[in-house]
């Protein structure tokens, strides 16, 4: 156990050094890709938080959109500084999540997919239909964040400063979600998923925990949306459409959702694959489709289960050899 912790802190330190040094060694385009990758990591990890209670919400990307639209309205239309609009926008997404989770937690499986999908689409339709204040199909402009309002200190329209802003927010979000995941609350959420009846019988409020997970997940999705919006400077309903949701599902299923690291691995590996296949960009969705089907057939617990699978199959081979030896 002690050794494991040391190992992990060594790896985290190496990762931190790479993340700090990397942006100075690569082109501006790649720095922005890394920024987007971190946004997607927050999205995927917050999605996994909801799945720990068993709900695979299809409204998660629209929740990210709620955060993006909220910050566009709060910081753009009302002129409130970025540092306040970010948590407020997260809160807006969290509250939206709370309100739609009420009908959602009463549903299961098929109904949950469809209801969450429909709830997300309803939110998106509102952005399209109500041109005031959401701007319809053309969307909204988002201002560039300022370190101290009115003082030109750090230029967040540049790729590298924004990268570090995103890095700091990502680290904060991930450590908060990690804390939740390993707390009593996180354990109760997992209990709700694996043994709902048993969890209820020992006095765990199953629906309450599902709604809590949904709200916390939506809050962090909203934060991811804020980071996305302030980098793109403009948002439109199309960005938060179903295609993005499908990608999110593929990331999390491919990486695996049992461990905290699973979704992160999924996002990182598939993003790198997407970059490698950039010349064949049209074919990328098909490659994703094939990967996800093969993953579900041959590695249903995702990439995170690969090490233990390899270990156990190696063990089997070893046992077979022994038996042949005898």
């Amino acid at each position: 156990m002690q050794k494991n912790n040391v190992n992990r802190s060594v790896w985290l330190t190496i990762l931190a050094i790479i993340m700090v040094v990397a942006p100075f060694t690569i082109s501006g385009y790649k720095v922005d890709s890394l920024t987007m990758l971190m946004v997607n990591v927050i999205l995927a990890v917050s999605f996994r938080l909801i799945t720990t209670t068993g709900g695979w919400s299809l409204a998660h990307v629209p929740m990210m959109g709620v955060g993006a639209y909220a910050t566009a309205l709060i910081s753009g239309k009302l002129g409130i500084p970025f540092w306040f609009s970010m948590p407020l926008a997260g809160l807006a997404a969290g509250l939206t999540g709370l309100s739609i989770s009420y009908p959602l937690v009463r549903t299961k499986d098929f109904s949950f997919f469809v209801a969450s999908f429909a709830a997300g689409e309803a939110i998106r339709l509102c952005w399209i239909r109500f041109k005031v204040p959401f701007g319809g199909h053309r969307g909204l402009g988002v201002p560039i964040p300022e370190l101290i309002p009115g003082v030109p200190a750090l230029d967040f329209s540049e790729a590298i400063p924004y990268y570090f802003l995103t890095l700091v927010v990502t680290i904060i979000c991930l450590s908060l979600m990690y804390r939740v995941d390993n707390s009593r609350i996180g354990d109760s959420m997992k209990a709700v998923q694996s043994q709902e009846a048993l969890a209820k019988s020992v006095g765990i409020n199953a629906d309450g925990y599902k709604m809590l997970a949904f709200s916390i997940g939506s809050f962090f999705a909203g934060i991811a949306g804020v980071l996305l919006a302030h980098r793109l400077w403009a948002i439109e309903p199309h960005q938060f459409g179903f295609t993005t949701t499908l990608y999110l599902l593929v990331w999390v299923v491919f990486g695996g959702s049992h461990t905290f690291a699973g979704p992160v691995i999924g996002v990182v590996v598939l993003t790198i694959l997407g970059e490698v296949l950039r010349p064949l960009a049209d074919w990328v969705p098909m490659v994703y489709g094939i990967i996800i089907i093969l993953t579900l057939i041959f590695l249903p617990d995702g990439l995170e289960s690969l090490p233990s699978r390899l270990r156990s199959s190696a063990g089997k081979i070893w046992k077979i050899r022994i038996s042949f030896g005898n």
């Binding site: 695979w56 739609i100 009420y102 009908p103 959602l104 009463r106 549903t107 299961k108 499986d109 098929f110 109904s111 997919f113 469809v114 209801a115 999908f117 429909a118 709830a119 689409e121 309803a122 339709l125 509102c126 399209i128 239909r129 179903f242 499908l246 599902l249 593929v250 299923v253 049209d282 074919w283 969705p285 098909m286 994703y288 489709g289 094939i290 990967i291 996800i292 089907i293 579900l296 057939i297 249903p300």
Partner: protein
Amino acid sequence: MEFLWQTILNGLMTSSFYALIAVGLSLVFGVMHIVNFAHGEFYMIGAYTVWVLFALLHWPFFIAVGAAIVIVGLLGLVSERLIFRHAHGNVLSGFIMSVGLVFILQVAVVEIWGVGKMKPVPAAFPQILNIGGVSTSWQRFIVLPATIILLWALWYFLAKFRVGRGLRASAQDPEAAALYGISPKKSAAVAMLLGSAMAGAAGAFMAPIMSVHPYMGHSVVWTAFVVVIVGGAGNIKGTILAALIFGFLTTIITTLLDSTIANLVNTLVMLVILAIRPQGVAGHAEE
């Protein structure tokens, strides 16, 4: 008065389209427990088949429709054999697999026929139909009798044929059905064949009315899901009832306001129904 009759006619036509697309989805869910998101893509391929055979090769319309039904049905059969069988009734895996299939089919269609150009399908029956002062085109009207015939055929198959009855038995209790010699795998394959064929039929009949493009399945599959959920997943009678409810609701709101509001209202109605009756309007509460 004329407005009322016009609304009833339009409502019936919309409902029959909803029923055609949603019943197949409901059937597949009832038997296999697969939330088949690729149902919309099956619909899209049905429309493309009609575009190729009827608009490009000038085959007779109904033969093109028949070909679309057969092709999409077989596509469903193949996807059951290659993909969905491996979900083993796990709803989440099945759903995500169908998402993968969506990606594959969309890219395939885009790569074969391109995305930019319009795929115009001329009306096979451009004449105007007049019934007591209300009018519509024959092309739109034909969906109504076609749906009635196809649903009747499905009912006849499920009620009178041994395979059809086996299918219903598998949907109710796969283990007990297996004890009576009904293979759940065979039932799953037949359900997928029929369900996909219905999607293909819907796409084929809508091709001259809707615009044919690789992403046309998205909005349709959403509506179909809403209908299935309100009808009670796997419940075909409930699905038809829900199709009628939403067909009329959509028609009335679209006539009075606009289609975006109609979609919004449909969704809210569904969420409210789920909050009150999670098992759907016609479903039975689980014990």
